[in-house]
Structure formats: structure tokens, C-alpha cells
Symmetry: C2
Subunit: 334 residues, 2 copies
Amino acid sequence: MRGYDPDGAALDRAVALGAIDAACDSVRAAVSDADVCFVCAPVSALPGLVEEALAAGGEGVVTDVGSVKRPVVDRVPDAERFIGGHPLAGAEASGVEHARADLFDGATWYLTPAERSSGILYERLFGLVAALGGRPAAIAADVHDRLMATVSHLPHVLANVLVGQAARELADESQGLPATGPSFRDATRVAGANPALWRDIFLANREALERELDAYLAALQEVREALRAGDPARLAQWIEGARADRQRLLEADLAGGPVSEVRVAVPNRPGIVAQIALALSEAGINIVDMALYPAPDMQSGAIALWVAGEGSADRAVELAAGLGYAAAPVDSGG
Amino acid sequence: MRGYDPDGAALDRAVALGAIDAACDSVRAAVSDADVCFVCAPVSALPGLVEEALAAGGEGVVTDVGSVKRPVVDRVPDAERFIGGHPLAGAEASGVEHARADLFDGATWYLTPAERSSGILYERLFGLVAALGGRPAAIAADVHDRLMATVSHLPHVLANVLVGQAARELADESQGLPATGPSFRDATRVAGANPALWRDIFLANREALERELDAYLAALQEVREALRAGDPARLAQWIEGARADRQRLLEADLAGGPVSEVRVAVPNRPGIVAQIALALSEAGINIVDMALYPAPDMQSGAIALWVAGEGSADRAVELAAGLGYAAAPVDSGG
């Protein structure tokens, strides 16, 4: 396995760590005769690098791992030897020193073959992705980018805007900054994530993201109208719809049966989360999501647990009660 | 302590559980001669009930616990004996059987005295709130409602709209419902929460919420323009601003010093969360927020931990490493 990086020190570390066998001093040297070439770089640099890799010749397949596919696909339209890729895996930490053999285990790995992509090269790439532990899934580049705009890029934009608005408005009030509460924390958790990376992603997927933003703006405008109209039935129906939608998306996302929410009231002592997580684990209950809601005094609070499987919520409530904590399933019917 | 509830069975349970000493068959009977009267009901019912409690006469103070204050204050303008209230505490589970003596411990309890509110009655209410464990904080009813619109009501609206849009658009794609990922899960966690309750809150705080929505719509429109303009510097600056804002709000929210994020890569085995939470607790590190990011295969994943205090992030990374898990601080500088 050969590698090239414009940063020589990074190349040396990659060799020292065994991530590659040989360091090359150019894209051309690394790519020539390769069966498969992975181009990994910030999304803004990908189109040029993919072009360079293809130009280096050879008969192997060239792929990339960028989270937006259209800019690359537009640059190398229908090249026989290029197949775009995007593994849904990664970590905050970057650099070869954070490489892990199990990074792709079970991860969906989108591949975007185009009309002229070689079938033989697609099969080769598919097999390698599967051998790395990934789950290759073919998808059109356009569909991929719209999908990411919906479930990832738009939520990041919304969080950034919300946190900015709150900071501005709360600073205006004489109250200073108040406790913001769990719904605000959840809604803004990704706000401000890696500015350089996200700037590039937003720009690269500009077209799909603008469409998403327009749809969102229109839907938000509708809620605003419903509010102005003061129609209780319309508002309640809208919230009921959101509840059903969230449930459906969450269940599609996770194996293990229907997902229910349980709230456990707890003192905010060290080890309580641990104790409850352990008890549920031992009982074979799968916690698929979790949120801590400390009370303002940080002395008490609640843990929200989303557990998967028929009957899991009731079991979790019993287990928490057995440990001395008041718990209740959150009624999903409204 | 006397109580009244239109639901006789609820009254019986309250007496049986010792939450009240005597059940009354009317508001008038419960309120007469009371030093303090708490009106607890859905926000849409509050104005009428507060009026009824005041009309019952006596010399005590009448307060409520509604999460929106303007509708009540508008109905009983400047009544000497009425002081609005809103404890920032509560649980998903309602009903007297879920009453807890420590529910208000350390919770901010907003009080909205008006110009003619009796000083003596305010002092009495203040003392009782403090005796219940709450932290009374005076605030103008208008400011209170704007504040709640910003940090609570708006985030709920945004989550509802996002989850609806995603469900609609993902259903259109041939892909079926894909894994939505952590940013989407965080952004939609409160979507569809208690429709009847939230319908009433949205309507009761319509004016402030419309203002918030308009500001949000305008800010989102600006981002849309920045995207269309394709200006990298403007986008990066906007994300950097969001990062700083989030940090500031999170730190204002919590005692214990600056908050930093740490990501720990973990196998998704039972007990791992417990093990890490325990290790950090034992080392005296305060986890102020936490999110689980399972990988698609549910075999591995990451835990994001927000820890408070100078040097806590580095300590947490060391402790995780000591347990055999790769961890890294998430650089808050971008």
C-alpha cells in the first residue's frame, strides 16, 4: 500500500504506524499501477485531486471519501475509472495517528457509480469496501447530496442560527444569561462544529442545501401563519405529526424493535448514570439514545433513556424503581 | 393544606398520598382564608382559574405555575393579591402520584410581581418558594415570556418542522429511510413532545414566539444569501460565531468553570458508558452533558462528553486511555 500527502511529516508517521507501506513524493507515483486509489482531502480539494489521480493513468479505480458528491462528479463526468464514495463513519480526531482498523465496521459506505463506470472496477471497489467492514450501498450522486442536506447539513445550519439568535437576544435582556435548559442544549449541540470543514461542506453542497433551506423556510412560515391564525386544532395536528415522524425515523435508524422513552428522576451524584446504565445492560435492555437533564442546582435531575424492544420501557422503569429512582415511561401517544 | 381539583379521583389520591390535608369541592372552599394559593392547570385554563381564585376573596396571595405569563397578567392586571410564578422544574410524568418533595430543589422559580403587587404578599410568596427549595427570581412578565420563547418555545418549533421535513423528503427518495445520524437526532429530540401541552404554550406565548420566529426566519434567510453568494469567509465567520456563542451559553448555564468536549471511541458493549462515567466521577470530573453516537452497526461508536473545569478535558482523555479507549479533546478553537 502506497500513500502520498503534501505534508511529509504526515507521510512519515503513516509509514511508522504501518498505515502505508511506502511513501511517495507525488500523486502520480502513488497512483501508478494501483488497483484502487482512495482520494481523501477536504471537499474543496477533492475535484482537482481526483482529476490528478485519474490523469496519472493506470487501470485501477479511483474513488474518494468526501461527504458531498456533486462537485467531484461534475468535474469528472462519467469517467470509466471514477466511482465516488462516502463512508458514513469518522471521528472528530483527524490524522493518521487516530486511524483505527474498525472505523468502518458496519458503516454504510455510499458509492456513486455513474452510467459509464466500469462494472469490473465497481465490483472491485465494492469488495474492498466490504472487506474493510463497510456496507457498500449504491446511490446516485444527486440523491446522496440531497439526503445529506436533509439529515446533516440542514440541522447544522439550524443549530448555528439558533445559538446566534439566543446569544444576541439573551444579552439584550437585563437577566444576563439564564439557564437555557435541555431542549436548547440538544438543539444547539452541533453549533459551531469545525468551521473550516463545515464551511466547505456547506459550499460544496450549496445547491441541495439551498433547496432544503427554502423548504424549511416555507414550512416555518406556515407554522408562523398557524400561530397568527391561532388555530389550536391545526397546531396540535402539526405537533402530533412531528411525534409520529420522529418515532418513524428513530425506529428506521435502529435495529431492535420499537423505541420508547423513559424518564428517571435522579440525584446528581457521581455514579448514578453508571449504576442505571449497568442495571439496564445487565437486564439486556438496549439504550439507543440518552440525554441528561440536570436540574439547575446540579443536585438532582432526570435521565431520559430511549430503549429499544417490546416491553423494554416497562422493564427499565421497574429496574430504576428497584434502585430507588422514580421513573416513568413517556407516553408516546400524547 | 387544602386542595381542589375538578377530578374527584385525583383529589382522593392527593389526600391518600398526603399531598394535601383536605379535599374541597370548589375553588372558593379551597381558597378562602388561605395564606397562599397555587393555581396549577394547563396554560389555557389559568387566566380564568386565577380570576376565580381572586374572586373567592380572602387576604392571601394567589400565584400560578404556568410557563407563559402574559395571558394571566393581562386578565388580572395589576391585582394587589396576584403574583405570577413559573418554576423551571418539572417532569414528563404528571399527576399527584408523581409528586416529589425535592422537585424544586435549586430550581429557578420566576416570580412576576406587577406595580401594584403587595410587598407583604410578595415577601410571603418569596419565603415559601425558598422554603420549597426553589430560587425565587423576580422578572417582568414580558421579559419572562420573551426569554422562554428564545430558549424553549422556538427550539421546539424548529425541531417539529425539521422532523416533518425530513420524514417527507426521505420518503420521496428511493432510498427509504436512511440512518439519520447524531446531529439529526439531537436536533429533533423534543419533536412532537406532548401535543396538547405544547399547543397551549405556543398559543399562549404567540406574540413573543412570532417575534422569535420572524427573527429566526430573517437570520436563516441571511445564511441562505451567504450560501448563494458563495462567500467562504462569511460562512466561516458565521460558524466561528456560533461556536463562541454556544460555549458562552453553556458556561453561563453551568457552574464549575469552562466546559470542554471530549470524544471517546468505544466498542458498543454493555457497561462501557458506565465504566467511563464511573472513572470520571471517581476522578472528580463533572460531566455536564453527554451524547452517545453509535456507529451504524451498533458494534462501536463514540461518546461525546462535555466536562467542566480547567484541565478536565485532558484528565478525561488520560482516564479513557487508561481504560483502553482512544479519546481526544475536541478543539474548541476550530
